[in-house]
Structure formats: structure tokens, C-alpha cells
Assembly symmetry: C2
Homo-oligomer: 238 residues x 2
């Protein structure tokens, strides 16, 4: 199994350059990435944005929404790239098009999977650690389950702050740590909080953290911080 | 119908004092508030926190979780106060205990309803404009539908900022406005973005904004800002 799961937030020139390097190292000499834009509403605009920002990493991009048979497109893809946006919309579309089983089967057979943000959420057992708004309601939260743990993308520590004019005000909604603690009041699966621009690379039984630190949350245990480069293979062994 | 729907964020002394004044003006001379703590996991601790923060507004608080028959407790309540926390957990519990219909019937008959944050989300047609994490999965997003529009609690404008040491960093997750635009890519119901500490008071066919500004989002239209005190009765007439 070969996975590259990114947190998102690849918006600065430095982050985009790092993203391209890591993606090229991961995908190697393939020609075409099958891009899955279903997390956003305007699929063609999403493909254009990927190219404009350089997140194609130099590969040809084929939008799955332009293919007559999305399941067949997955079955013949060299690699799949599932982009970010709204995770509920993405999962709902994957479920309705029969792509959950199609992608799982190809990944099990060795096809590389690149996910960013919502594309990382759906690689987990469920989408129950997404930060997104439930603008649509999939019949089930069960997702691709390519890894046996959850990733919380766009992770950050502490309170949100809101900029009003030139001053910053504290916002009193739950912190991310509080939200993940609430997840563990009802669920047992470990959750890796992945800072923006971070990635997790999985190769068979090995997993490594790239680019940023990450914080691991487990039910009933104190959170644990990991440095970039850390071996996270133990998370595959749930 | 009598409703007082708060955004949340009643954490500063000034905000708490305003909350108490508005709640007392709304509820008048009743004795006891039936408090619904299901949005948090520890119900007794939640009741204690309400008292400690003064959010009881001087009324006796009866925790619905301590009553042998929650539906009967709603049927005999003078007024209901549904607290904040995780909206998915709250709705799931209301659905499982048969409280959706029980609360709807009493509110239709004139019982005052006070909601804060998640308690405001569930007063809407669905919980599809919550900011919370889907830590449990209700069978349906349909909620109490006491008003015909959505409220997005804890609303704020612009990017999230994260404090690292003494400096603020921009976070690249979707802004609230982007999230609500995405809601309207799939749904038609208007959404009122209610800043923290704000409230909407509904009396029959009249609705008024109290305490803070709010921003109204409608499908295919530019957002519209309202000042505290604005008449929002038109939102009841969908």
C-alpha cells in the first residue's frame, strides 16, 4: 500500500515547492494523475486551480469528472489524487458513484493514493474527524479506510483568533484539542492532528511524518507530539 | 411561539451580565428551567458549570438527564434551555429519546425555548450549518425546525488566526463565509451568521436581533449585514 496524505494549506511558495518535491519523490516516473475534484462544486475550476498553483507537481492531470465511467477510470489509473474542499460532499459523491470499493481495491493492489485535506479525511476509517460543515448528509460516515487511524487535517493548537481591523480577538468556540477529546468520548480510534503543510507517507507497513510536527490523540491518554521525520508505523498496527 | 436563540461565547463578565438580562426579560416570572445538557458528555458537570458561570440567570435548573422520563419532563416544563457543546451528539440524543416531537409540540403550544450554540443549531430545520465535528452520526440531519431558517452560531468574518508564542499566523482552512457559500451550493435555506454573544428573540411572527450584528446569507445573493436591534421577522416568513 502506497499513500501520501497531506493536511492542506499548500498556499505559500515555500509550502508549494515542498509539496511538489514530496509528491514527485512519492509518485516517481508516472505520467498522469487521476484527479478527484468532488469536494468542490465546480470541478473544471478546481482542475484549473490545481494547475495554476502548481499542485499538479509536473504530472498530467486527468479530471475524473470528465471521464464517462469514473469506476473504470480508477481501474486504469496510474495514481489517484483526491483534492480538498468539503469532506461531506466528497464522501457522498464517492459513495454514490461506487468509488469507495473501486479505490480501495486499486490501493490494495498497489496504486499510489495522494490525498489532501478532505482527500486525507476520506482515506481514514470514517470522516468523523473532519473540520467541515455537513452541507450534505452521506448515508454513512464510513470512508475508504486505507489506514486504521484518523487524521485531523489543518490541525492547530489553542483558541481561534479573529482579526478585526488590526487587532486579534479570542474566539470562544471549542479548540481543536477539545473537539478531538469529544471524539474520544464516543470513539476509540487514534487521531493524528496534522498541522497545515504536513504529510504522512505510507509504504506498506511503514509510515513517516513529513514537513511539520503532528499531535497524536488517543482515548484516555495524554496527547503526544511528534517531530517531522518521525516513524509513525506503529499507527498502522491497530 | 417564543424562542431565544443564542450564538454562544458567553464567557466574559459583560457578556454573561447581558445574557442574564436578556434571558430574564424573555422568561419573566417562571421558577424552573428544564436544562438539556446532552451536547456534552458529562451532564452533571455541565449543570454545575451553568450555575458556576451564572448562566442559570437566577432560575432553578432541573437537569433533564436526572428525570426518569425525559419526554414527560418536557411535557410539564415551564421552559426548556438547551445548552451548547457538540451538535451531532445533541441531535442524536434528542432523536433517540423521542424528544424532537415532544419539544416541538410544547413550543408550538407556547412553552419558551432557550437555546445556546448547539441548542440554537437544533432549533433550525437541520444541523447542516453547525461548526462541530461529527463525533456521532445521527440517522438524519433534521432537527426541531422551530424556525424556517438556519443559524450559524459563533459566526466570524475572515480567516482564522492561530497564536504561536506571541505572534498570529493565518490559517488556510475555509473561512466561515466560504463554508456557508458551500452550504448554498447544495441548499436553499437562508442562514443567519450570528456573532458570539448575539441572540435572536422570536415572539410569534416577530423576530429581533439582540446584542451583536449578524450577517445573512442567501443562495445566489450577496451577504447582508444587520445591526443589533434589527427586525428579522421577514426570516420567519419563508
Amino acid at each position: 500500500m502506497r499513500l501520501l496524505l497531506g493536511s492542506g494549506g499548500y498556499r505559500t511558495p515555500e509550502r508549494i515547492a515542498n509539496f511538489r518535491t514530496i509528491v514527485r519523490d512519492f509518485l516517481g516516473s508516472i505520467a498522469t494523475l487521476l484527479f478527484v475534484p468532488y469536494a468542490l462544486e465546480d470541478h473544471d475550476a478546481y482542475v484549473a486551480k490545481i494547475l495554476e498553483r502548481g499542485l499538479d507537481a509536473g504530472y498530467a492531470i486527468e479530471g475524473i469528472h470528465r471521464t464517462p465511467d469514473p469506476v473504470a477510470a480508477v481501474q486504469r489509473a496510474e495514481a489517484v489524487f483526491v483534492g480538498g474542499g468539503n469532506t461531506f460532499r466528497l464522501l457522498d459523491t464517492l459513495q454514490r458513484l461506487g468509488l469507495i470499493e473501486a479505490i480501495r481495491a486499486r490501493v490494495a493492489a498497489g496504486m499510489p493514493y495522494l490525498g489532501v485535506s478532505a482527500g486525507t479525511n476520506v482515506a481514514c476509517p470514517t470522516i468523523m474527524t473532519t473540520n467541515d460543515m455537513p452541507i450534505v448528509w452521506p448515508t454513512s460516515p464510513r470512508a475508504l479506510h486505507l489506514v486504521p487511524f484518523q487524521i485531523n487535517p489543518h490541525y492547530f493548537e489553542g483558541q481561534t483568533h479573529v482579526k478585526v481591523g488590526e487587532t486579534f480577538h479570542e474566539h470562544f468556540g471549542e479548540t481543536r484539542d477539545e473537539r478531538l477529546k469529544e471524539f474520544h468520548e464516543r470513539n476509540d480510534v487514534p487521531v493524528l492532528g496534522l498541522w497545515e503543510a504536513g504529510m504522512v507517507r505510507v509504504e506498506g507497513a511503514m509510515a513517516r511524518l513529513l514537513g511539520t510536527p503532528a499531535r497524536l490523540f488517543r482515548r484516555g491518554q495524554p496527547a503526544e507530539d511528534f517531530e517531522p521525520g518521525s516513524d509513525l508505523s506503529f499507527l498502522l498496527d491497530q
